[in-house]
């Protein structure tokens, strides 16, 4: 059904949108100017994916909402992104750990979705596979450099890997919407992406002279149902405040 497809697109869009928002916070805060540019690039790519997906979701769900209606006028409980992307900035190693995991996931995701029965999604995927390949490579190169750099960077990178672990399982969990979307040929089962994505992560970690952390005691859950973590409310307050302060305005 269209409502289901819309809901599936919304999940993908929200992951991209919220991560784009977080990466936007790095701009003018990165360790070097080249990295300000690179992080801005990744942010822009994700924002681009989000915009097309949100627009299409608003068409399919019958509400006629625009990309901006969906980004600026939904409440926290209506956002469908995983917890990984909403976490506040940590240090640069945290960001590279997050990007490595997320881009490894998205690389498999979009590779599968180029054949989606939903044409807009197939189109987004065709473009995104190349973008995400760059994101994954960028994170990979940094994990290698930090892991095999100085002893401080090695320790920080190892600690960041440990900190990112609780957020991983949620990416590959088969939520009902993804299951239904996979059944209808629109989507792909998240669990089917895990092995290939994780192979890349593990190879990178090994190449970086780091070790894979133990399984975490805690795993995040609920993002796809609009259950978010504490930082999400503040993120949305910041993101939406100007738009909400001028209802009905055009920018």
């Amino acid at each position: 059904g269209d409502a289901l497809t819309a809901r599936y697109l919304l999940q993908l869009a929200d992951d991209a949108l919220i991560y784009a928002q977080r990466l936007g916070e790095w701009v003018a805060n990165a360790p070097q100017i080249e990295e300000d540019m690179a992080l801005a690039n990744v942010s822009l790519d994700l924002l681009g994916q989000a915009r097309v997906l949100l627009t299409r979701a608003g068409e399919l769900d019958g509400t006629g909402r625009t990309e901006d209606d969906l980004a600026y006028f939904r409440d926290e409980r209506e956002f469908r992104n995983v917890h990984l992307v909403e976490q506040p900035l940590g240090d640069f190693a945290d960001e590279m750990a997050r990007m490595l995991v997320f881009a490894a996931y998205q690389a498999q995701l979009y590779a599968a979705l180029v054949d989606s029965a939903e044409p807009t999604l197939a189109g987004v995927a065709a473009k995104a596979v190349k973008e995400v390949d760059y994101h994954r490579d960028h994170a990979t190169q940094w994990v290698l450099r930090l892991g095999d750099g100085t002893s401080e960077s090695h320790e920080r990178m190892q600690a960041a890997l440990t900190r990112v672990m609780p957020y991983v399982a949620e990416l590959f969990a088969d939520d009902p919407v993804s299951v239904a979307a996979a059944d209808s040929g629109v989507g792909v089962l998240p669990s089917s992406l895990q092995e290939a994505a994780w192979r890349h992560v593990e190879a990178t970690v090994e190449g970086a002279t780091l070790t894979m952390p133990d399984e975490p005691r805690h795993r995040t859950r609920g993002g796809r149902d609009g259950i978010h973590s504490r930082p999400m409310g503040y993120l949305l307050a910041e993101m939406q405040h100007v738009a909400r302060s001028h209802p009905g305005a055009t920018w």
Partner: protein, 319 residues
């Protein structure tokens, strides 16, 4: 001091001086100071707008804003590279910025209070910057002039985007119109100050203008550029429907220029000396980002050294 005949000949013929060319030490140091200040301005200039990336009121504007701030980072890189051709390096220049030993454009010590400020910065600040920079595309120092050609192309794009932000606001709700007018009110005078203090007529002997002109680094006086900017901008303000905050602004038929009121140079000097709204914040922000990133840069250097060494060893054993 020894003469520099080949340099003098290049300047006289209005040709480009290149890094390998002999040049007077003062020419070199003037250029380093100016290019570094220009590069620093791009980097510090990322902050006032970067501040609004997370709050841009539409996704389209957010994307445009990220791309713009990214361009500023890129301009900073071109310019640091141009400076490096004169025998300094970026890390050294950044240290001088962080220690307050080199300046950046004082305009960035003004705060961005509302979304409309992003429009005003594009329209007025980038507009003034272009006015300053276009002549630099013909600067006598080759690497600087080539960097400026790239920069100017992108800047004029930014200027149009700024204009368009304000255009949209002026066609929006009363609150949006008020926001745009308020931004114009606050940015107009500081934009005029961007051209620097008076340096024509009785002020012509002050500052570096004369020497810089002789060397082909500077092509027009501050006052001439300021007048050109006013002449260009007033009709744009009229098209936007904005009132510029100067009761003395009026067309002077005789001069063929817009007359404008006196600039508050006391404010200019106060802000330049550190007592502007954001001086401390801008430098503290840069230093924090730089200091927090030190371990990352060190790691990259260490990694490169290791892997260059192992590559070299591999090549050696293969040879």
């Amino acid at each position: 001091q020894a003469g520099h005949p080949s340099f003098d000949a290049l300047i006289a013929a209005d040709l480009r001086v290149e890094p390998r060319d002999d040049m007077p030490e003062e020419y070199r140091s003037t250029l380093i100071r100016q290019i570094a200040q220009h590069a620093h301005s791009e980097i510090i200039g990322m902050q006032p707008e970067g501040n609004w990336i997370t709050r841009a009121p539409s996704l389209r504007r957010k994307a445009i804003l990220i791309a713009k701030v990214q361009d500023e980072a890129g301009h900073g890189l071109y310019l640091y590279s141009a400076a490096e051709t004169l025998g300094v390096d970026r890390a050294e220049l950044l240290d001088k910025l962080h220690e307050g030993k080199q300046k950046y454009s004082s305009i960035f010590n003004y705060p961005t209070l509302t979304w409309a400020d992003n429009g005003a910065i594009g329209w007025l600040v980038d507009g003034a910057a272009i006015m300053n920079q276009v002549p630099l595309c013909r600067c006598s120092y080759g690497p600087y002039s080539r960097a400026m050609i790239r920069v100017c192309k992108e800047e004029s794009f930014h200027q149009r985007q700024g204009f368009e932000i304000l255009w949209t606001l002026m066609r929006g709700t009363p609150e949006q119109q008020a926001m745009a007018q308020d931004a114009a009110n606050r940015w107009w005078w500081p934009s005029l100050m961007m051209f620097g203090p008076p340096d024509s007529g009785q002020d012509a002997s002050k500052g570096h203008t004369a020497q810089s002109m002789a060397w082909g680094i500077k092509r027009f006086s501050n006052d001439d550029l300021r007048q050109k900017f006013v002449d260009m901008t007033v009709p744009q303000a009229q098209r936007l429907g904005l009132t510029l905050p100067d009761p003395d602004l009026k067309w002077n038929e005789e001069r063929g220029h817009w007359d404008f009121g006196p600039i508050d140079w006391d404010e200019f000097w106060r802000v330049l000396k550190g007592d502007g709204a954001c001086n401390a914040e801008r430098i503290a922000h840069r230093r924090r980002a730089h200091d927090e990133g030190a371990w990352v840069r060190e790691a990259a250097t260490a990694y490169a050294a290791k892997h260059d060494a192992s590559r070299a060893a591999a090549q050696e054993s293969a040879a």
